[in-house]
Each structure stands twice: as structure tokens, then as C-alpha cells.
């Protein structure tokens, strides 16, 4: 089975990477190449949307963790959403749930992003008042 990757730009320097199919040793390199092109220091938030993904192996995990590291290194946000139960299970097996921003639904993630935007706005308003 193959992997379909759709990467779209969203508001506030956000990139959403939607993956469908199977992410394994045969398809991981393709995803890595696409991410290498799209994710750079200008990206503030990377979202990986797992809605269509029904299989994930360690080869795929490496791509995901590498992407998280890239975002961590540039002080960006790395979010994951819509993990199917069998995908979540793989993360749980390798005890990688901690420290990851994983959301069960788009609504849950939207609420998180909105709260982050509010925090940034409040900080910006505070700075404007004093400078």
C-alpha cells in the first residue's frame, strides 16, 4: 500500500502535513523528502494530521521524531491530530506520548491554537503598552 502526503500552508506560518495510507520502510523516505522541502525556519507550527493513516512502523516514527526535533530546534510548535487507535498504540509502545502535543480531534487542536494565539496577543499588547 502507498502513502499520500498533502502539505498545505495555513494561517500564522503553519504547515499542515496530512498523511494517508501506510507510513513504513517503503514510504518513509518519500515523506522525509517532502518535509525537508516544506519545513524550514520560517514555519512556526507544523501539524501532522493522521486521519487517513492506518499503519505506522518505526521507519515512519523516525521521520516524525526528526520533524519534531527540527521544530524544537527553531522553537516552533509540533502538533499531531486525529491518530487512529492502532497508530496511537505504536506511540504508546515506545513510550513516546509524553512531551508530544497529541490531539484527539481538530476541535481540540483548534482550541489549543486559539489559546496560544491569545497568549501571544496578550504579550504583544503588554509590550506595546510599555514601549
Amino acid at each position: 500500500m502507498s502513502l499520500e502526503v498533502v502539505i498545505i500552508s495555513e494561517a500564522n506560518n503553519c504547515k499542515r502535513i496530512s498523511i494517508s495510507g501506510e507510513l513504513d520502510s517503503r514510504t518513509a523516505l518519500d515523506l522525509q523528502r517532502r518535509i525537508d522541502v516544506e519545513i524550514d525556519a520560517s514555519v512556526a507550527t507544523t501539524i501532522i494530521d493522521f486521519k487517513g493513516l492506518n499503519f505506522l512502523s518505526s521507519a515512519g516514527l523516525r521521520v516524525i521524531f526528526k520533524t519534531k526535533k527540527v521544530m524544537d530546534d527553531i522553537n516552533g510548535e509540533f502538533l499531531m491530530v486525529n491518530l487512529q487507535p492502532q497508530i496511537k498504540k505504536v506511540f504508546e509502545i515506545i513510550k513516546a506520548m509524553e512531551g508530544m502535543n497529541i490531539f484527539n480531534s481538530q476541535e481540540e487542536m483548534d482550541d489549543y491554537l486559539a489559546s496560544m494565539q491569545d497568549k501571544v496577543k496578550k504579550l504583544t499588547d503588554h509590550d506595546d503598552r510599555y514601549y
Binding site: 517503503r26 499503519f55 512502523s57 521507519a59 492502532q86
Partner: protein, 143 residues
């Protein structure tokens, strides 16, 4: 008495990444013909993918391309997966998966850890010039 006859099937594939799809199809046909539950199918698919990847990764370093025989055998409650090949002696379960907790997630050991976590028993032996790696897993039948 075990009412389920043992159903044994095998496939021979090359130790290349491209053969993985053939192996996945083989497993799917086996799972369907033996009525294995979907959750167990996913676990088995992951076990097989990780094992196959480990075997071909170690062989690739030496440009050692050869055939791998994968056999599936089940009896209604336990499935036994056997990988055998003529590569250089390689024990997939010799890696210390305890490193997982302290190792950066993108570095080694994840595949072995996944195999161990999803299996009920693992066994490796070298028989003549062959590596023989056996995975045993309990499963349930579809309702």
C-alpha cells in the same frame, strides 16, 4: 483436543525493501483465510514489517542480497511466524531494548522494542548457514 488443524503457509521473497509489499499481501491473505481479528492483524503486520526491515538492513550493509523464507502457522489461538535466511549470522533480538527510555526517539532500537512488545515469545537460532527467527503470538478470531 485442538479442533483447529494447523494451517501452515510460506512465501519466499528477496531481502529488499520492495519485497515488503508482497509480504504484506501474503499476511493479509493468511489473516483473511484464518479469520484472524483485525487488531491482531495490525500487530502481526507491524511485527513482520519490523522484523523484515531489521533483516534487510543488516544485509544491505554487506550488499548481501538473498532470499528470505517466511512461514506462518496457526492453530486457532496461536500464530507462529518464522523468518529464515542464509545471511550472515544476525540475531534480531540481541539488541537491548531497555535503551528505549533514555534514547532519543529517532535513534535505534524502536523496531526490536515493538517486536518484543507485541509478541508472546521470540526465539533465534543459527541452523547450519541459516538464521531462524521465530515469533509466537496469541490471537483471537473475528466475531
Amino acid at each position: 483436543m485442538n479442533q483447529y488443524p494447523e494451517n501452515r503457509q510460506s512465501i519466499v521473497i528477496q531481502n529488499r525493501v520492495s519485497a515488503g509489499e508482497k509480504l504484506a499481501d501474503f499476511l493479509l491473505r493468511y489473516v483473511n483465510s484464518n479469520n484472524i481479528a483485525n487488531d491482531d492483524h495490525n500487530d502481526l503486520k507491524l511485527i513482520i514489517e519490523e522484523t523484515f526491515t531489521n533483516i534487510i538492513s543488516s544485509a544491505r550493509e554487506r550488499s548481501d542480497y538473498h532470499d528470505i523464507t517466511v512461514e506462518l502457522k496457526c492453530d486457532g489461538k496461536t500464530i507462529v511466524i518464522t523468518f529464515s535466511d542464509t545471511g550472515v549470522a544476525f540475531n534480531p533480538i540481541s539488541y537491548n531494548s531497555k535503551n528505549i527510555g533514555n534514547t532519543p526517539p529517532h535513534e535505534g532500537g524502536m523496531g526490536i522494542h515493538i517486536i518484543r512488545s507485541l509478541s508472546d515469545a521470540l526465539n533465534y537460532k543459527r541452523v547450519g548457514d541459516r538464521n531462524v527467527f521465530t515469533i509466537t503470538k496469541h490471537y483471537t478470531k473475528r466475531q
